[in-house]
Subunit: 331 residues, 2 copies
DNA sequence: CTGAAAGCGCTAACAC
DNA sequence: GTGTTAGCGCTTTCAG
């Protein structure tokens, strides 16, 4: 069942049918109706492989992701999905579980499967970028780690986020401020820590303590417990992300340390849950919507050949003051 | 740059090149090498639109999802991804934010874009099923709500899950057992509640209290707070899912009610976080791996025309006893 | 405003 | 083993 069947049934030529499919204005209204009717009766849908072949484009944008279970990704993806739909593109997500080579042969990474690709927080970034460049597939990077020649990307200023979070704690009168950082292989984690250090230095202070952990509740929990055991608690903690922060708060409460009365905690990312547990977490929200929006624009412009020089956009995160931070107790 | 260029460069015909691409054994080794070399030098990749067109298949399986931020989905998706990859298929995810009509024209829902579709916990199920049937696209349902003629699906026995969870509480000596159910428009929520009712009835008991809430921490929290305010606390609570349960535990602890010493709580889904907060939640784990595995098999068999009668597979969930439940305190 | 013809890049008969 | 030919379903000149 193809365009010829429709042509036959409507008594017109395949060309006219094609014109109707593509909303060409140069079709007599009566004929358009005939064609539409035939399409309807035949339950006809144009073959997209054929369309892609002849047009040289697919209308699909691929996005490679590594993780689902996270509010930050969730928001970025949903905004990108909507923006792309507005422009007539579809977003196809592909999970890459960083199993090395296999992934690079992912269906996404074929020039004619997609019109462009968005790499969200890619794991094997260098490798992917090299491959995409080689295959000449238009692409952009979101929340990536490194700079590359000729590649546009949108990142968040994690340094500033770390700085702002720490500054907030300083403004509340805290001086004994500890940090629990995420894995330092992540640039974002390293930057947040750097912001923390700088804010402290600007205030003439030094870190009270620094520990590293995974981006999980349990590892934040462990670190806090350890500090309690060692009786080495600060008065404020800047956690590398909300999961860590949630774990910290949890451990403190178990031990009777009140948040924020006895100890203030700041997280990062504004995870869904950060606003649901009490005290609701003061945190740093990344501008996901902006990130996705700019990223999509950049990619689409590249695809349409309005290829300006590639740009690296750095977005400012925003401190969200809620209930897990308070003025230092006068004692 | 196409197959002809490769043919020219290697000094062989396009057919031979095609054979090499498709690993046909009937190519002289020396020639194969020539072709491979030419492909390499030209950095050639076969055009997949053309391949799809002529083969009548794409090698892509689409999966429609509604939500990312959830461990259950995360696990199902990852297993499906792996299983499909093993069989030479790629999984393309598409988010459908239930905006009504628009979604149905999703790129996934075009016969020749994908070889088959998996609908995971679809929202507008009836509509999607009707559309897919009409378009004659092979598909299966995972964790769906309704039964349909001629459609294979894999679901979890939520009734049994609810029954087992409640039975566990009964076995611990509890008799005052309340339930906080998820939105009853979800069959899964209704079934879990039904299991709860049945277990109680089998023990000659009646529900201590039943409330409904969203599948969120905050709504579980609210319900527990309300019960505390009204001084109407049961000795055990079966929550509709882990988020609700987490909210309940959180509220109870705030009020000095100890879990599990004073009150036992059971959740559902084994969310990532359920095992990270203390007390670690006793919960019901859905067999995601099995679900995805069976679903993929069903779909692939359908695609390959080994079309047995459509089947509805109901999988048993598994109670995970951890630390949020304990024997009823003798008082 | 409409249609005939060519061709997108590839694979599947069918010869040789 | 290898190549010639046809055609997958569609859009795009180019006439008319």
């Amino acid at each position: 069942m193809n365009i010829h069947d429709v042509a036959k049934r409507s008594g017109l030529s395949v060309v006219t049918v094609s014109r109707v499919i593509n909303n060409s204005p140069t079709v007599r209204e009566a004929n358009r109706q005939k064609v539409l009717k035939a399409m309807e009766e035949l339950n006809y849908q144009p073959n997209s492989a054929a369309q892609s072949l002849v047009r040289g484009k697919t209308g699909i944008i691929g996005m490679s992701i590594t993780n689902l279970n996270d509010s930050f990704y969730d928001r970025v993806i949903k905004v990108a999905n909507r923006k792309l739909a507005d422009q007539g593109y579809f977003l196809a997500l592909s999970i890459s579980e960083n199993e090395g080579e296999g992934d690079i042969n992912n269906f996404l990474f074929q020039r004619d499967r997609v019109d462009g690709i968005i790499l969200l927080s890619p794991i094997e970034e260098e490798q992917y970028v090299a491959e995409l460049k080689k295959k000449k597939i238009p692409f952009i990077l979101l929340d990536n780690q490194y700079e590359h020649d000729d590649v546009s990307s949108v990142v968040v200023d994690n340094f500033q986020g770390g700085y702002d979070a720490t500054k907030h704690l300083l403004d509340l009168g805290h001086t004994r401020i500890a940090h629990i950082g995420g894995p330092t292989i992540f640039l974002s984690a390293a930057e947040r820590k750097r912001g923390y250090m700088k804010a402290l230095a600007d205030a003439g202070l030094t870190p009270f303590a620094i520990e590293y952990s995974g981006f999980t509740v349990s590892s934040g929990y462990e670190v806090a417990k350890k500090w309690i055991r060692e009786d080495a608690l600060p008065t404020a903690i800047f956690a590398g992300d909300d999961f860590i922060a949630l774990g910290v708060v949890h451990a403190l409460r178990e031990e009777g340390v009140r948040v924020p009365q006895d100890l203030s905690v700041v997280g990062f990312d504004d995870q869904q849950l950060a606003g649901e547990f009490y005290p609701r977490l003061t945190t740093v929200r990344q501008p996901e919507a902006q990130m996705a929006g700019i990223g999509v624009d950049l990619l689409l412009r590249q695809i349409n050949g309005q290829m300006e020089a590639p740009t690296v956009t750095k977005l400012s995160p925003k401190l969200l003051v809620r209930e897990s931070t308070a003025y230092l107790k006068q004692s």
